[in-house]
Symmetry: D2
Subunit: 319 residues, 4 copies
């Protein structure tokens, strides 16, 4: 389905269930997509960081995206991450994603290399020219180790390169400055780029981002509780900020599952991804909680803590 | 005045006006305190980063704090920054601040040194024991290059070491997790540390922090427009989040004055502090816009941009 | 050719000449390999950072490696970089490199992801098991944003996972500690891993690394002046440290060509790679000095500075 | 004693022995100075990072410096660290150091603040003008979180601001570039600033730094084994690089004592400083191995490891 209006709402970065051999478990992934669409989400972001895209071979990436597109079946738009080091490599992923039916592309700044902002601007412009799909910039310094500045994003929004921003930088002040420059929470439609979509990846402060004027959210833990984020989004749309904040607080408590794997024993992202997948397994959505190699698995004790968090948030495990 | 209840509201970090020789301009500082108190602020934070505390000799620090305490005259509480590398040096500043009449102390983690969180915990505990005043932790990684974790702050809140937190880390997700652990926005009074005060230094997202349950804000640009932040705070207290957000947007536009000094030619903090002081001079509050050496001064062109931002925010310069 | 003894000597990271369309210029690359082998180098490192591997599609990587292997024609061993985000993706590159005739593999820690050292250890172990070629760890924090610790490298050396280390971390103290733990400059052969090869990527302090006991060097600017590094290496082998240092100083002066592109206008790595390629073009080795998109090209003025550095080092341009 | 020639040789950063109450143990400090001078060192650096300067109140700093100057008794020059956040505060320390008899000053770039290189240049120039003593720049990014560039140091060397550089940046390539720009290892006396002194703080690669043309070294572990570093320095002066490297290797093994306190339980600098002081106590030089609060003390097990390292290096404990 085409993106005829600015993308908005809850757009979870879809986890990629794996089997024991590390292959994409397409049956589980199909169930996960149904779980999300049934939860009321407004779009799906396949092949993002939470999808473990950096761990997937090109073949597995293709399988995952194909499965998400098929399962979504046009009910919601599918954004595809095209994550690789630099422009030529990203362009190849972009062409593949287009062929597989993605509705939009999500690309980061170059990484591994040290890249000047002027070079990063060229990167996004060439990607936009290479494949005719709406292009979202993915600002994720924790992964790529550079930050997209407000002025760079604005420049690329105004010249039509970018359809939107997925901001996982954690720089809420910078995001606020961008939104104000684009016309402010109430003036965006009359601003310089009325169709530009601002999505936050800061899943613990979504009420805040929506109050600031963001269009939507890409919450990793939205895999586990999509309906919760949809309630939060609807409350915000209705102007019931107290309700939005209460829902956000419940989700913050749920999110504490990521502390399950102590940092001294495994990577920080392994524990987050592992807990999301453990939760999806406990909820009966996916078959196997395994994360991609070389990420270490959660201990049994950690999985118990995930189960406790699920119960605490009103999402009792079914196994 | 003693802090009988959790500190809340707008607590600006008071700029330190200087004369041509770099000495504290006490007449200007007195006028600035009146400007802030007349603007309705709920407290004053002297000798913080925005006060250029790192540039002030001990004698100048004492002059500044003495002046703020005298000018405040008990109308609002005065918090004093006690900024130095490690415990013994900070303790000396704390004793001086107590003698000069500060109502509470604000201390960072050790800096210059590389300090383990367990050592940082000892640091705050000894400071609390050394001087009998409420102690606020000042979380400012951009200056001290370490971050206070949620678990450390919570531990020091629960054992009575800390009366509050001044969070300038920019980690809004972490702050949200802390508030939720303390009982949430509506449950703080029934939580484990009902008197603990959470103040944000993220001046561009104050509406968001208040929605999340923060008690107040320490806004650098609150020196320039204290009444604006008070209106924002009052709107939030009244639950009028749309009004709060509108006021915040106006303040975000005003804040763009910090872009006046381009980063390639001067330090980022120099341009922020220089623009705040330039604005205060243009508004007739202080006599001289000079920042402390070795910070470079704003150019005349930059001062013009500050003036434009003031006019844009409805604060016309008087000179 | 197989690596029957620990790799040693000068092993330049081979630049990848490109044509105007960004395709690998195989004729130029063949000439470059001859230039290096004629200069006396002891091995070739294809598809490293200096080869712009992060900018090359898989097809271009294969073309480059195939060309280097063919041009080397067994005269010196060819190491192949297998640079990608995580284990499964790196393994695919490793299999391809083996098929194309590489004599050894060079892999970094995972990047884009946040990976625990225990996970990084698993990464290298699985790569070693996947493809039966000697495996070198490539320690390059500026690109991957994690550092391989001395203890991790030693563990992977002792269990046979690693055949060697290519250290581009700049942490000369850490490298010295590793060498001392392995038996010291004179005792390596009687140490715990007598065949482990230590190569430094710190091209400005090669005399120092060889004095410390390193086996060899992987110098980017060795593309431009391979014979200079060979003279330096031979002087060090002969114990003529004053001569080694003089040669190093000449190469330091030559290296100043990387300052050609000022940091404010292009990326730091773009200016280094651009100046190496400009020098190779000026010396008549390659046809085109272009770097891969989105790197900005050197200005004509910068190319003039490169030419001046060449003349200063006794390497007069031929065009 | 005045510095009539460029400072050279072994200039240890003198540890500051403390008693149980955290006060300077002047008797122990006097013995330590004798230990160092008897070991043949060429100068003493009081109030550096290894002296725990960041932990000492102004009164304790004065006691320490006064004691070192008195104990040195003109036998070797005494450099004094003047470590504080910015220019005005550093100037006060500089005046005190001059009054207490320091022969030269050692100052860092500003810290806590974010300072532009142009502002840092002004900082050093004003310090030089404020107190008429030779001024050394102390490049220590791990503490101050900015790096002095080669071009900045060169500019301040050429205009007479700086008498030398104490480089604790770990950037050996940058240091090499500086030395080459100053004329190279053999041409310094005919270079642009013949009297400029280059001292490295990289205590594990001193042979390398001397080979590169550095004038001397400021080794923390030189407190423990000053004679070892003097032997290393003399071997290098005599051109016996193999002997220098062997001595360096012995000192690298001795240095492994800093691993005594595992990083997960205490700060990295605490374990280094704690092990140096434990070694000095075991050798009978100082009375008490305590480090300044809030650094955690070494465990008894860790002290045993320090003792083992001493024995391994031929420095048997006397208690």
């Amino acid at each position: 389905m085409s993106l005829t209006a600015p993308l908005h709402g809850v757009v979870p970065p879809v986890c990629t269930p794996l089997d024991d051999r590390g292959e994409v478990d397409t049956a589980s992934l199909t169930r996960l997509v149904d779980h999300l669409v049934d939860g009321g989400v407004h779009g799906l972001f396949a092949l993002g960081s939470t999808s473990e895209v950096a761990y997937l071979t090109d073949a597995r990436r293709a399988t995952a995206l194909r499965t998400v597109v098929a399962a979504a079946a046009g009910r919601v738009p599918v954004l595809a991450g095209v994550i690789d080091t630099t422009t030529a490599r990203v362009s190849e992923h972009a062409r593949t994603a287009a062929e597989l039916g993605a509705d939009a592309l999500v690309a980061t700044a170059p990484f591994y290399t040290r890249t000047h902002p002027k070079e990063t601007a060229g990167h996004f412009r060439r990607l936009r020219a290479a494949v005719d799909l709406p292009l979202f910039a993915y600002d994720i310094p924790v992964a790529v180790h550079s930050k997209l500045s407000v002025s760079l994003v604005r420049e690329l929004a105004e010249d039509g390169t970018l359809a939107g921003l997925k901001d996982s930088s954690g720089d809420e002040g910078g995001l606020r400055r961008l939104i104000v420059e684009l016309g402010g929470r109430e003036g965006r439609a009359r601003g310089p780029v009325p169709h530009f979509s601002v999505l936050t990846g800061s899943e613990l402060t979504v009420d805040a981002a929506l109050l600031a004027g963001a269009d939507g959210v890409v919450p990793g833990i939205g895999n586990v509780d999509p309906a919760g984020y949809v309630r939060l989004y609807e409350a915000a749309r209705a102007g019931d900020w107290a309700l939005a904040a209460r829902e956000q607080e419940r989700l913050v408590e749920l999110f504490a599952m990521v502390d399950a794997g102590p940092e001294q024993d495994m990577g920080r992202s392994s524990s987050a991804l592992g807990s999301f997948k453990a939760a999806l397994r406990l909820l009966g959505v996916i078959e196997n909680g395994a994360t991609a190699f070389p990420q270490l698995p959660l201990s049994a004790e950690s999985v118990s803590l995930v189960a406790a968090r699920l119960r605490g948030a009103g999402l009792p495990p079914v196994r």
